[in-house]
C-alpha cells in the first residue's frame, strides 16, 4: 500500500468534495434548505470550465464549442456558471420547503445531468472528454505535481472554510439559523426569509462550481458518470456523519468518507468480482452509517454543544 499516494489522494479528493460539503452545510445545516441537487453546481462549474478551456473540436469529437481560453478564465467562468445555475434554479424555488424543495432541486440536477449525458454537441455526451490539461503542469518541477495539486486543493478548502466560518459567526449566520429553526418567527420580526434563502444559494454555489473545476484538473476527465446524484448523496452522508450545522463537522464527515472510500479502493483485490463486491459493500456501509447517525446523532449534538460554548 502506497501510503504517500493514499494520503495525497485523500487530501485532494477530500478537499474538493469538502468544499461541496461546506456549501451544503451552509444551505442545509445553517439555512435549513434541503438541497438534493448540489452536484449540479459542481457539474455546471466543471463543464463550463471545460467548455471555456478546451481546444476546438477535432474530427473525432462531437462537441461543438471549445474556446481554448486560459485556465484562470475557465476557473472564473466556472464560478459564474455556478452563480447563474443557482439563480435560475434558486429563484423559482424560494417558496418551497422541506421535501418539495428537496425534490425540485433534485429534479433540476437530474435534468442538467441528462443534458450533459445526452447532448453530444455539448461535451461528447456519454463518451465525455479525456486527457484534459492540468494547470501549471509543466511549470511545477520542484515537487511532485500531485503533492502540489493536493496542497492547492487544500488551500482552496481552507479559504472557503474561513470565509464560511466568518459568515456563520456573524449576525448573518445567526439569521440563517433562525431561519432554519423557525421561519415564521423570523418573518414576524420583520426579516425577509426569501432574500436570505436566495442569497445563500447565490453566494455558496460558485464555490461548489469552482470545486468542479478543481475536479476536472484532478481527474483530467469530463465524464457525465462522474457527476451523478451519487455525489450529492455522498456529500449528504458526510454532512450527517459529521453533524450537520457545523463547518468543522462537515469536514470531519467528508474526510472520514473519503478515507473510507480510498482505503477500500486501495485493497489489492485479486478478482474483479471481489472488487465489485467491495465497492457495493462500501455503498451499503455508507447507507448504514447514514441511518445510524441520523438515529443516534452523536456528532450532531456534540457540534451543537461546541457551537454554544465556543
Amino acid at each position: 500500500m502506497n501510503w504517500a499516494q493514499l494520503v495525497t489522494t485523500v487530501v485532494t479528493v477530500g478537499s474538493i468534495l469538502g468544499v461541496v460539503t461546506l456549501v451544503l452545510n451552509m444551505q442545509y445545516g445553517h439555512a435549513g434548505m434541503i438541497n438534493f441537487g448540489v452536484v449540479a453546481y459542481f457539474a455546471a462549474g466543471a463543464y463550463t470550465y471545460v467548455l471555456l478551456t478546451q481546444s476546438p473540436p477535432s474530427s473525432l469529437d462531437q462537441y461543438v464549442v471549445g474556446l481554448d481560453l486560459p485556465v484562470w478564465v475557465g476557473f472564473l467562468g466556472a464560478a459564474l456558471a455556478g452563480l447563474v445555475f443557482a439563480l435560475v434554479t434558486g429563484w423559482p424555488t424560494l417558496r418551497l420547503r422541506g421535501e418539495y424543495l428537496a425534490l425540485t432541486t433534485f429534479a433540476f440536477a437530474e435534468v442538467f445531468h441528462s443534458f450533459i449525458l445526452n447532448e453530444q454537441r455539448f461535451a461528447n455526451g456519454t463518451r465525455g472528454l479525456v486527457g484534459l490539461e492540468r494547470p501549471l503542469r509543466d511549470q511545477i518541477t520542484f515537487v511532485d505535481y500531485n503533492i502540489f495539486f493536493a496542497a492547492a486543493a487544500l488551500l482552496f478548502l481552507v479559504i472557503v472554510y474561513l470565509i464560511f466560518e466568518r459568515i456563520v459567526r456573524s449576525p448573518y449566520g445567526r439569521a440563517l439559523e433562525a431561519l432554519r429553526d423557525e421561519e415564521l418567527a423570523l418573518i414576524t420580526v420583520g426579516k425577509q426569509s426569501g432574500r436570505f434563502r436566495l442569497e445563500v444559494f447565490l453566494f455558496t454555489a460558485p464555490f461548489a462550481a469552482m470545486a468542479g473545476a478543481f475536479y476536472i484538473w484532478y481527474t483530467t476527465l469530463a465524464l457525465p458518470e462522474l457527476f451523478t446524484a451519487e455525489v450529492t448523496f455522498i456529500v449528504w452522508i458526510a454532512l450527517i456523519l459529521g453533524g450537520e450545522g457545523s463547518n468543522r463537522g462537515a469536514l470531519i464527515g467528508i474526510f472520514l468518507v473519503v478515507v473510507f472510500e480510498e482505503l477500500v479502493r486501495a485493497i489489492p483485490f485479486t478478482t474483479v468480482r471481489a472488487a465489485q463486491i467491495a465497492a457495493e459493500v462500501e455503498v451499503a456501509a455508507l447507507g448504514l452509517l447514514l441511518i445510524v447517525f441520523l438515529r443516534w446523532q452523536p456528532f450532531s449534538s456534540l457540534a451543537r454543544m461546541r457551537r454554544r460554548t465556543g
Binding site: I34, P92, T93, R95, L96, R97, G98, E99, Y100, A102, L103, T104, F106, A107, F108, E110, V111, H113, S114, F115, L117, N118, T126, T228, A229, F233, W236, I237, I240, R273, Q276, I277, E280, V281, E282, V283, A284, A285, L286, G287, L288, L289, L290, I291, L294, R295
Partner: protein, 318 residues
C-alpha cells in the same frame, strides 16, 4: 419484423440504459403516435403499480420513501433467483418473492423508520436515502454485475393494424387495475383499511378513538411491500434486469407522485398515465435518452406552478 419488445422495454428511466424504442419503425405519423400511446398506456400501468405503494406510505406514514424502488429491485431478483436459479415456476417464484418483499418492507420500517418518526418527514426522507444505499449495496454485492431475465414464455407481440401490442403489457394493465381496485376496496371496506385511513388523517386523534395504530402501520407497510413486490415482478416480466434499475425508477415514481399530488392515492391513477404517456410521446421530438427528463420537467413544472398536484391535498408545499 425484428421487434424484440421483451428486451427493448426501456424501463430503467434512461439514465444508464438510454434504450431506444426504435426497434419498431411503423410508417406514418398517426401509426407512430398510436404506437407511442400504446406504449404510454403500458408505461402508465407499470407506473401505477410502482407508485401506489410509494404514495400509500407518503399518505399514511407521512414521508417519501426513496428506498421504495430498491424494494422493487429486491423483489425482482428474488423472483429471478427462485425462477431461474432454482427452476421454480414463475408464478410461484413471484408469489414467494412478493411475500418476502412485504416482510422486508415491514422489518425496515420497524427497525429504521419507526424509531425516528418524531424527527419529522425531512429526516425520514434523508434516512430513506440511507436505506436505499444499504439495500442497493447489499443487492448488488450479492447479485453481481450482469443482465438477468426471467424464465417465462416469450409471447410475441400481435398487431392491431400497424400497431404492435405486447401481451405482457395487457396483463400488466389488468394487474394495475386489480391493484387500484384492490387497494380502494381494502382501504374502504376492510376494518384494517379503515383504521389506516383514520390514522392517515390524524394519528393522535385515531389513537385516542381506539384505533390500533401499530397494527394499522404494520398493515400499511405490508401492503406497500406487496405493491413493491408486484412492481419488481413486473420489471422482470417487461424487460431485463440489472442492479442499477432501481435508481431510474424512483425518479419517475417521484414524478408520478408529485403530479398526482403528494398524499393523494386516486390522483396516482391519473398521474401514472399522464407521466407514462408524456414520456413515451416525447419520443416524437426527443431522442430516447431524454425520456426521464420529461418526468423531471413535469416535476419542476408541477412544483413551481401547482405544488399540490392534480388532486391537491391538504398539506401545502409552502
Amino acid at each position: 419484423m425484428q421487434s424484440n419488445q421483451h428486451a427493448a422495454w426501456p424501463v430503467a428511466g434512461g439514465l444508464r440504459h438510454g434504450a431506444n424504442r426504435g426497434a419498431i419503425e411503423p410508417t406514418g405519423r398517426i401509426v407512430r403516435v398510436t404506437q407511442l400511446i400504446v406504449f404510454g398506456i403500458g408505461s402508465g400501468a407499470f407506473l401505477l403499480i410502482a407508485t401506489l405503494g410509494f404514495a400509500l406510505v407518503r399518505r399514511v406514514e407521512g414521508f417519501l420513501n426513496i428506498a421504495h424502488a430498491e424494494l422493487m429491485s429486491i423483489s425482482a431478483f428474488i423472483t429471478w433467483y427462485f425462477n431461474v436459479k432454482l427452476g421454480w415456476h414463475f408464478l410461484l417464484a413471484a408469489l414467494v418473492s412478493i411475500a418476502v418483499t412485504a416482510l422486508v418492507a415491514l422489518v425496515i420500517a420497524r427497525l429504521v423508520y419507526d424509531p425516528i418518526k418524531h424527527l419529522g418527514p425531512a429526516i425520514l426522507l434523508i434516512s430513506s436515502v440511507g436505506v436505499a444505499f444499504l439495500l442497493h449495496g447489499t443487492t448488488a454485492a450479492v447479485v453481481g454485475v450482469g443482465i438477468f431475465g426471467f424464465e417465462i414464455p416469450r409471447l410475441a407481440a400481435f398487431s392491431l393494424g400497424e400497431v404492435f401490442v405486447a401481451p405482457y403489457r395487457i396483463v400488466l394493465l389488468g394487474l394495475a387495475a386489480v391493484c387500484a381496485v384492490g387497494l380502494a376496496l381494502f382501504l374502504n371496506r376492510t376494518r384494517t383499511g379503515k383504521s389506516i385511513r383514520a390514522m392517515s388523517i390524524n394519528r393522535d386523534l385515531a389513537a385516542s378513538r381506539g384505533v390500533d395504530i401499530t397494527a394499522a402501520s404494520r398493515a400499511t407497510w405490508l401492503v406497500t411491500g406487496v405493491l413493491a413486490g408486484l412492481g419488481g415482478v413486473a420489471l422482470g416480466v417487461l424487460g431485463t434486469l440489472t442492479t442499477d434499475l432501481a435508481f431510474g425508477q424512483i425518479l419517475v415514481i417521484l414524478a408520478v407522485a408529485i403530479v398526482a399530488g403528494l398524499g393523494s392515492l386516486y390522483g396516482v391513477i391519473v398521474a401514472a398515465f399522464i407521466v407514462g404517456m408524456a414520456m413515451d410521446l416525447s419520443q416524437l421530438v426527443l431522442p430516447g435518452g431524454y425520456r426521464p427528463v420529461i418526468a423531471f420537467a413535469l416535476v419542476i413544472l408541477v412544483l413551481l406552478i401547482r405544488p399540490q398536484g392534480l388532486v391537491g391535498s391538504r398539506e401545502r408545499a409552502t
